[in-house]
């Protein structure tokens, strides 16, 4: 076992983890953050995307011990004081949600993109979510959702 400390959703955790544990297992099995999904286990689908030190990563490809000292945001951390993030609201409003399994990762990729680039072009939005597979929608709704989210954030909604 190895002792690590990390911040997840603005909360400090000091945990003892198995050397063999992946970050996704730590988040789901140990910390109960089940909003992070495992779709492929090899970095192809992006369902396990979390934001680690400001950048999106596939949490299935990070070892838990590597997260020592890191600051991590999962889908559960997107809500602030009981209010969901404008990106989440936009996903709901434009109808971008179907089966929902890709959505936590998709929302976090969208957030990382908009944090870096508040006014991306359509192509940049496409590229921003290109590491997240969705088998239901065909992706257009996710692009509308990102555009709608930009509007919401400007309106301060």
């Amino acid at each position: 076992m190895v002792n690590i400390s990390l911040i997840v959703n603005e909360k400090l955790f000091e945990v003892s983890v198995s050397e063999n544990l992946r970050l996704i297992d730590l988040l789901r099995d140990e910390l109960g953050l089940i909003g992070t999904k495992e779709g492929c286990g090899e970095g192809e689908c992006g369902a396990c995307t979390v934001i680690m030190d400001g950048e999106t990563v596939n949490s299935c490809l990070v070892m838990a011990f590597q997260a020592n000292g890191s600051n991590i945001l999962t889908i559960e951390g997107m809500e602030k004081e009981g209010k969901i993030h404008p990106i989440q609201q936009a996903y709901i409003d434009v109808g971008a949600v179907q089966c929902g399994f890709c959505i936590p990762g998709m929302v976090l990729s969208t957030k990382a993109l908009l944090d870096k680039k508040p006014h991306p072009s359509k192509d940049e939005i496409r590229e921003g979510i290109s590491g997240n597979l969705c088998r239901c929608t065909g992706y257009n709704k996710m692009i509308y959702a990102a555009e709608k989210a930009i509007e919401y954030m400007e309106e301060g909604k």
């Binding site: 089940i34 999904k37 929302v107």
Partner: protein
Amino acid sequence: MDLNVVGKNIIRVDAYSKVTGKALYPQDIYLEDMVYGKVLRSTKPHGKIKVDITEAEKVKGILKIFTYKDVPKENKYGVVLKDHEVFVSEKVVRIGEPIAFIVGETQEICEEAYEKIIVDYEELNAVFDPIEAMKEDSPIVHGDSNIILHYKLRHGDIEEGKKKCKYIVENIYRSPMVEHAFLQPEAGLSYLEEDGTVVVAVATQYPHYDREEIAINLGLPEEKIKVINTNIGGAFGAREDISVQIHLALAAIVLRRPIKIIFSREESFLAHSKRHPMVMKYKTGADENGFLQYMEAEIIGDSGAHASWAINVLRKAGVHATGPYVIPNVNVDSYAVYTNNPFTGAMRGFGATQVSIAYEQQIDELAVKLGMDPIEIRMKNIFRKGSMTATGQILTDSVPLDKCIEAVDKEFQFSRKLEVESI
């Protein structure tokens, strides 16, 4: 009429729980005292097996390893034909068939035991091509013939129809096997309620069929089984057949502990159905004015090692073989055939999808021969109100295909583009 829903933007009830990550899929449910399961699957496409679990059972933390001997009642299941085994008893018919179900305290313990199960194969000749599988001397997958279905459609008189044709085009089309790749790999959870009712929480397209199958295999009355449908991470037809349900219920009843299973992506690929690959031989003819007069089609669908929905899918392929076109003289023969390939079943479109590749290409080729715009030849032949289909159905209600084609033509300018390219 006042419409409350049609034409309105309605927010789905589950959207909030899904954008916040709170929606529960089976893998997200954790119970006290829960154990884990893992399936051992066949690695050969056709062969007789002998299974030795002695060493695997000795692994510390293993509760039980189930094989066909542990199934209380029927060992067979399937949506239409009962040609799946809960666990293979004698002969595997494809790669990926369940042979044993390992239950242990942790996933790692199950992995360890998995490595220690010995499966001896006496390999049999296998067949992977549905056309080969239809021949007399082919290896047989189940029973005494590989042909599951021969659907015949006869409409008008094809000899008369041929005589009216100026041009006949003849082609063979092949469509590939397709994986649904829904994003949430199969998972499930099973536990007993206080009164002994067994609960199976799973993402499924047919909770009622699942319950029926579990009851038959375990020899229980249906009211002692509860199937809870969790959120479903995509299905597209591939959650119509049983995956984890029977194994989980069996283990929960025998071991009286909550049990959970999660498939890896690789296992998900092995476990569920695929889209039927089809070989489609088409002859389609039109008269000098571009009116379709004749069509003959032979459609062979590869059902793989299990029938699943093959009867329905190949029947649908046959019914839709003309596409949305009026053709007075038609012969269609469609076949569903067993092979030792991965099994095929329901997938978006259910047999109607594959044939469109063939019939639309046929129309395009006729258009070229006739020197006719591809939109024009379609407008001459499409179903309209009052048309008769090859199955003899009169279309009495709304058939706005003409409007659809006009709108598409206007938006995409298909015909103009094709003219430019042909110059």
